[in-house]
């Protein structure tokens, strides 16, 4: 069992998201995250999907997606070089001035922006890999009493091949 990534081109139509997500629940596939947005062609949406599965199930997931009429193309991103980022906001609440300093330090180390600030709170805006975001949350949870997190799920795109540079 490991995390795998799929980029999915689908028709930008009503119900397609429900159909794709329904496949995962209906067939008990383990969906980690799913993001969707339109592409340069507004009739086409692109999804970035992360699933946890074994090899056999993953093959089956790709086939099942492929046979959907609304799915235009399935790209397996698991073993190709990709750029991947996930947006995440983390609000650290009820902190002292000293603790604020600590949050700034963490922000510096993790290369995340301080997006807003209050008397006893700091809002961090992070565009990191999913794994790095996980690490950040773990760290914040261990250091501070109250944090509020919202994350957007990862988006990924294939890297530009070295031969094209």
């Amino acid at each position: 069992m490991k995390n795998r990534w799929i980029a999915l081109y689908v028709e930008n139509q009503v119900g397609v998201l429900a159909k794709v997500s329904g496949l995962f629940s209906g067939k008990s596939y383990n969906l980690q995250s799913l993001t969707v947005g339109t592409t340069e062609d507004e009739t086409v949406s692109r999804m970035t999907i992360c699933v946890t599965s074994d090899d056999v199930t993953f093959e089956q997931i790709k086939k099942q997606l492929n046979r959907m009429v609304e799915v235009i193309k399935v790209i397996d991103l698991t073993s190709v070089p990709i750029h991947m980022k996930e947006i995440l906001f983390a609000k650290v609440l009820h902190i002292s001035a000293a603790e604020k300093q600590e949050v700034y330090q963490i922000a510096q180390v993790f290369h995340v922006e301080v997006a807003d600030i209050g008397n006893d709170s700091v809002l961090l805006e992070c565009k990191l890999t999913e794994r790095r975001n996980n690490e950040l949350i773990t760290l914040l949870k261990s250091k501070f009493r109250t944090i509020e997190v919202v994350r957007g799920g990862a988006v990924a795109i294939e890297s530009i091949s070295t031969s094209c540079r």
Binding site: V10, G22, L23, R67, M68, V69
Partner: protein
């Protein structure tokens, strides 16, 4: 010039060559029915319930090779066809189902008879869509017929809001359609097929496993030639039965849970299992770890997702069955399989498919008479014990077809599917083999058969029980017949262990019921009367006949493999 949606609807059906549709009216489809009323190219069959309707369309589609077309209203009309959609999805039956929908402006308001039928049927249709713009209507109908009938066939649902039906828009019905996400496989990968063939040629104990894909792609002749040329024995799944004539010397029998002993043993002993058009359902494989343990497995299927899903396959080939077999025939050479065939014959001799003959009228006796009686019948079964007996004992060949609910196992399928088959094939005899449980699930379709003048012959195997479940209770649950006795009344003892003198009468009286519908009814209680009843039923050309066969009540389907057990561990007695 622009036309209304309702006019385009009828025009589209005509251009698709539709001559029969199965329709039940209601508030959101009255415009479409009104338009159908004004023309005479398309016949509308009115059933008595939408579930019956869609099974009729399935029987029609399966027996004619055409797309079955359904038209029902929104809300309950739509939800009532869901079982049939799932059934058609499982058994790859091409259907285009139109559902009415409340006007666009009311969608989402919990309007009268509004349901999100596209959402509800997403996982049981090949494709489903609500028409949201009048100008899309023609393209969507064209897409629907294309998707339903090509690749692995299946049901397509089109939901048409009432205001789309009356809105005006383009009059053109497109002659073809491009769908960028839908490219059914129309060729065969020769390299991969050659690999499969080489493996087969090296086999000492080769076995062909033929599934429903053979019958769907009409590859029966090719399979027969291939098996004969290479001298390879053939086993089938239930959906594949009839893939080659069942009387052919190379045909072993059905494999699976209630398959023939020799067929299941052959699967577990073969060294190459050459499977075509099957998805290796759990009823075929049993315990996966013990399935064909000695064999290299070739799997040819039109659906990539069916390959290597349930069973790990050595050589996968994505292809239509007929295309693959046509190619294989170019290469086919004769193998020396004489010893292997003798071995299979030996297994067959030690444990043939046979019922005891010493305790009354058995299903085998009835089916033997049926085999002798009909020269070119379409057999349609319901689901349950009678279905298994039919799949065990019916003889099928190019002139005899069997239609059955294999994947979903839908009780209530038999009678309506038989009516649909008869409507599609008025010149052929259609025999419905059914049980007393399943027949009652869509008994109202007797009226449809009568008004349509569809004289199907209904062979009702009445054992007073929901026999298939009772059989499990009999064997594995200490004869605790929970909710399986159809005679049971409140006056019965709590722990009844089976039929006895004090049993209440059966209800309904099927003979009186048949007569009340204007149909015919014959009750048969002894073997000697089977033939006469069949002969008499065949003389009725106006209306259907129920022949009620009072079979031995505690008869069980044998052999059997307990769910999840290895296929080689069969209960034989």
């Amino acid at each position: 010039m622009d036309i209304t949606g309702r006019k385009l609807f009828v025009k589209a059906l005509q251009e698709e060559g539709v001559d029969t549709i199965f329709g039940y009216p209601g508030g959101t489809v009255t415009d479409l029915f009104d338009e159908l009323y004004k023309q005479d190219c398309i016949e509308v069959v009115l059933p008595r319930h939408e579930q019956g309707l869609i099974h009729e369309a399935e029987g029609y589609a399966k027996s004619t090779g055409k797309v079955g077309v359904c038209l029902v209203t929104s809300g309950p009309g739509a939800t009532n066809i869901m079982t049939g959609l799932a059934d058609a999805h499982y058994d790859s039956i091409p259907l285009v189902c139109f559902t009415g929908q409340v006007p666009l402006s009311l969608i989402g308001n919990d309007a009268f008879q509004e349901v999100d039928i596209v959402g509800m049927t997403r996982s049981i249709t090949k494709y489903g869509v609500t028409v949201r713009r009048r100008e899309d209507l023609g393209r969507i109908i064209k897409m629907a017929f294309h998707i339903a009938a090509t690749g692995k066939p299946g049901p397509v649902l089109i939901d048409i809001p009432k205001d789309i039906q009356t809105a005006t828009g383009p009059a053109e019905y497109p002659s073809n359609v491009q769908i960028r996400g839908y490219k059914p496989n129309e060729s065969v990968h020769v390299g991969q097929l050659k690999k499969a063939y080489k493996l087969l040629r090296s086999a000492k104990k080769p076995l062909i496993l033929a599934g429903g894909g053979i019958n769907i792609s009409k590859a029966n002749d090719q399979l027969l030639q291939f098996a004969e040329k290479m001298q390879i024995p053939v086993v089938t799944t239930i959906m594949g039965k009839g893939a080659i004539p069942t009387t052919h010397p190379l045909y072993v029998g059905n494999s699976g849970m209630h398959g023939k002993y020799a067929a299941n043993i052959a699967v577990s002993k073969c060294d190459v299992l050459f499977s075509i058009g099957t998805r290796f359902n759990d009823r075929i494989t049993g315990d996966l770890n013990e399935f064909a343990p000695k064999a290299k497995i070739v799997h040819i299927d039109v659906d990539t997702a069916s390959i290597s899903r349930n069973v790990a396959v050595d050589v996968p080939v994505v292809s239509d069955a007929r295309l693959a077999l046509e190619k294989l025939l170019e290469w086919a050479e004769t193998l020396d399989t004489e010893k292997w065939q003798e071995q299979i014959a030996e297994w067959n001799k030690t444990n043939p498919l046979e019922m005891r003959r010493d305790h009354g009228m058995t299903p085998q006796m009835i089916l033997e008479h049926i085999n002798k009686t009909f020269a070119d019948a379409i057999y349609v079964t319901d689901v349950g014990q009678h279905q298994m007996w039919a799949t065990q004992y019916l003889e099928l060949d190019a002139w005899h077809q069997m239609i059955t609910s294999g994947g979903l196992g839908t009780m209530g399928f038999g009678l309506p599917a038989a009516i649909g088959a008869k409507i599609g094939n008025p010149d052929r005899e259609v025999v419905c083999i059914t049980g007393d449980g399943g027949l009652q699930m869509n008994i109202q379709e007797m009226a449809t058969a009568v008004v349509q003048g569809a004289p199907v012959i209904i062979c009702l195997f009445n054992n007073y029980y929901l026999g298939m479940v009772r059989q499990m209770q009999q064997l594995f649950y200490g004869k605790r017949y929970a909710a399986t006795c159809l005679r049971r009344r409140k006056t019965c003892p709590a722990n009844c262990k089976g039929p006895n003198e004090a049993c209440p009468p059966y209800t309904p009286d099927f003979i009186a019921l048949a007569e009340s519908y204007g149909a015919h009814g014959i009750r048969v209680e002894r073997e000697e009367d089977i033939q006469a009843a069949l002969d008499q039923a065949r003389t009725y050309k106006d209306a259907p006949t129920i022949i009620e066969f009072m079979i031995a009540t505690e008869e069980i389907v044998l052999p059997m493999v307990k769910g999840g057990n290895p296929m080689s561990e069969m209960i034989l007695k």
